[in-house]
């Protein structure tokens, strides 16, 4: 933590960055994102196992971008996000200074995006035991049972869009649900509207989701949304083979290869 604070202080003091995005102590036992522009305030920065929110979501936010070049505290999911954003032309080497935090909690500075890409590909995206169990359960279900499971799980959703707001990959300035000519997804919250929203979002995440879990954590009523996106990842691997998050390789869903399986056409 001290190293992190020192480095943040250096960066602000020298003017290399105008802003440090990190974590600070919140109310009760919560941690929350903090935006530091004053070198003295770097004392507020903390880092511990509670710091799991994906800060990369702020890199695309106009209100944050206007402040100036940021430095961002980046755990592994955040690093993966940064590379995915770079592969979608949202970030370059100069967009931000990356204050990486390794899974052991050590500070690691990265000077280029390539360095980050090499680093993150040492680690497999693993499913947590709990999620594995539920996915296995779902895989055993008949189509009718699965439909009932998802209807029961998604009907309580009230379309607050916290999942979308917390997801760093949802950076579209005008979301599909905000289109009204035509209205692709119904606005009100009810069974059909909720299913359409979540299924559509899962499809938009296919091949792009970096498995940070921000969506499920943000949901105020604890809907296990990440199951949909994780299942998408499994399906993507099955259809298009193993893919790694990479700057230049191109996303499976936005690049065409002659050997792509076209089972959906049958």
């Amino acid at each position: 933590m001290d190293e992190l604070r020192k480095r943040a202080h250096e960066l602000l003091q020298s003017g290399e960055v105008k802003l440090v995005i990190g974590y600070e102590q919140g109310n009760g036992n919560k941690v929350r994102p903090v935006f530091i522009t004053n070198p003295e305030d770097t004392a507020k920065l903390i880092f511990d196992s509670r710091c799991v929110q994906n800060l990369a979501v702020y890199l695309s936010k106009p209100e944050v971008k206007t402040i100036g070049k940021p430095a961002i505290v980046a755990t592994l999911p955040v690093l993966r996000t940064i590379i995915q954003l770079a592969s979608e032309n949202q970030l370059t080497d100069d967009s931000a200074v990356i204050l990486g935090i390794t899974p052991d909690g050590a500070l690691r500075n990265f000077s280029t995006l390539e360095e980050i890409e090499t680093f993150i590909n040492q680690f497999e995206i693993q499913l947590e035991e709990r999620d594995k169990k539920i996915i296995e359960q779902i895989n055993q279900m008949t189509p009718e049972e699965r439909w009932k499971f998802w209807v029961d799980t998604l009907t309580p959703c009230f379309k607050c869009y916290a999942c979308r707001a917390a997801c760093p990959m949802c950076y579209c300035t005008k979301c599909t649900v905000e289109q009204n000519q035509p209205q692709w997804i119904p606005v009100p919250s009810h069974q059909l509207g909720n299913l359409e929203w979540h299924f559509m979002r899962a499809m938009h995440m296919a091949g792009r989701c970096v498995d940070c879990g921000a969506c499920a954590r943000a949901c105020p009523i604890s809907i296990p949304l990440n199951l949909l996106t994780k299942k998408m990842m499994e399906d993507m691997k099955a259809q298009f083979g193993e893919y790694r998050i990479a700057i230049k390789k191109g996303n499976p869903m936005s690049t065409f290869k002659p050997e792509d399986s076209e089972t959906f056409i049958r």
């Binding site: 109310n27 009760g28 941690v31 209100e63 944050v64 607050c160 009100p188 919250s189 604890s222």
Partner: protein, 341 residues
């Protein structure tokens, strides 16, 4: 009417619950599902959860649902027919187990839906719903009802308020309204005269943390302040706080089509979402999050008291608990109070 004070044993309370079911009421009570506790239809007393400080969602969806049909239309053969809302379709309901802050939340909601023009749909649901509240014996760090004119044993907005004594085998039942009286009249033998119980000693201790009148007066001068930007930088711009809030009433009107038929619905909306005030021309009076955050706070603590003589917050703390990035209402209000002019 003056509040009538009665007492009821825990076993009789269960019986009272059953009587209400027998009378055909649809009872909504806190029920545990996965890790969250929310209001659901319950049929048996054993389903009711009472081991919590506050539910995740408010009970407003029972009277102001997420999606409410306003009318049906049919474009049949050239001319259009409209089918109006039918008040007889609305069931008699009981909300069992709200906290005083939630019961009080219906007061600003009712004020908004009756401001000059009366929303008959809202009023029908409200009139057919009996609100049975339970006092709070404990609070957490997000609660602040005492700072906004409430308290853990407040009767505002409730039809009946039950306060559990010590080990919760005996309850003080305060019957506040005619609706509450009617409910008690279904099983009067279950209730006894109050021997003079002092309920205050059974309530949670929650010191007042800010003065809402002071804040209302301060806010008038703070429209252009940069405090809004500072407070809202981490806000993600979702609708979680508005949707779990017991007093937030902002809504959208949408048409849903099924071939030649369809309906117009009223559904929840949030001033925190960027689309809320967007004009068709592309102009948006509240184009950045700080302006939207300012609207949220000022609407509740300045505009509503000025126009409707009622504050838009009851201190339930749900917004703070639900927010993914800890936008804590209590913290923000205290920091406004501390700003020197």
């Amino acid at each position: 009417m003056t509040i009538k004070r009665l007492i009821i044993q825990k076993t009789s309370l269960e019986k009272f619950f059953d009587v209400l079911i027998q009378k055909g009421k649809t009872i909504y009570a806190p029920k545990r599902k996965n890790e969250k506790i929310n209001y659901e239809v319950v049929n048996h007393f054993s389903e009711v959860c009472d081991d919590y400080i506050q539910t995740t969602q408010s009970a407003k969806s029972i009277i102001f649902p997420r999606t409410e049909k306003l009318f049906n239309y049919n474009k049949g053969k050239g001319n259009i027919t409209l089918e109006d809302f039918d008040p007889d379709q609305v069931p008699e309901a009981v909300i069992w187990g709200v906290r005083p802050c939630d019961a009080a939340g219906f007061i600003p909601l009712t004020a908004i839906f009756n401001w000059d023009s009366k929303d008959e749909i809202y009023n029908t649901r409200f009139e057919k719903t009996t609100i049975i509240a339970f006092s709070c014996t404990s609070a957490d760090e997000s609660c602040f009802c005492t700072s906004v004119g409430g308290n853990p044993g407040n009767t505002n907005g409730a039809d009946i308020l039950l306060t559990g004594m010590g080990d919760k085998n005996l309850f003080l039942a305060e019957v506040i309204t005619e609706k509450g009286e009617k409910a008690v009249s279904f099983a009067p033998n279950l209730f006894e005269e109050d021997p003079g119980i002092e309920k205050e000693k059974y309530l949670a201790d929650l010191p007042k943390q800010f003065n809402q009148e002071e804040i209302k007066d301060k806010l008038q001068a703070f429209f252009e302040s940069d405090l809004w930007k500072k407070q809202s930088l981490r806000c993600l711009g979702c609708g979680a706080c508005a949707y779990v809030c017991p007093t937030c009433a902002c809504f959208d009107i949408q048409d849903e089509v099924h071939g030649k038929e369809g309906k117009r619905v009223r559904c929840w909306d949030s001033c925190g979402l960027s689309l809320f005030t967007l004009h068709t021309s592309g102009h948006n009076p509240r184009s950045v999050q700080s302006q939207r955050w300012r609207q949220r706070l000022m609407h509740k603590f300045s505009y509503m008291p000025q126009r409707l003589a009622v504050y838009g917050c009851t201190g339930c703390g749900r917004c703070s608990r639900a927010c993914p990035v800890d936008m804590n209402m209590l913290e923000h209000l205290i920091s406004i109070q501390e700003i020197q002019k």
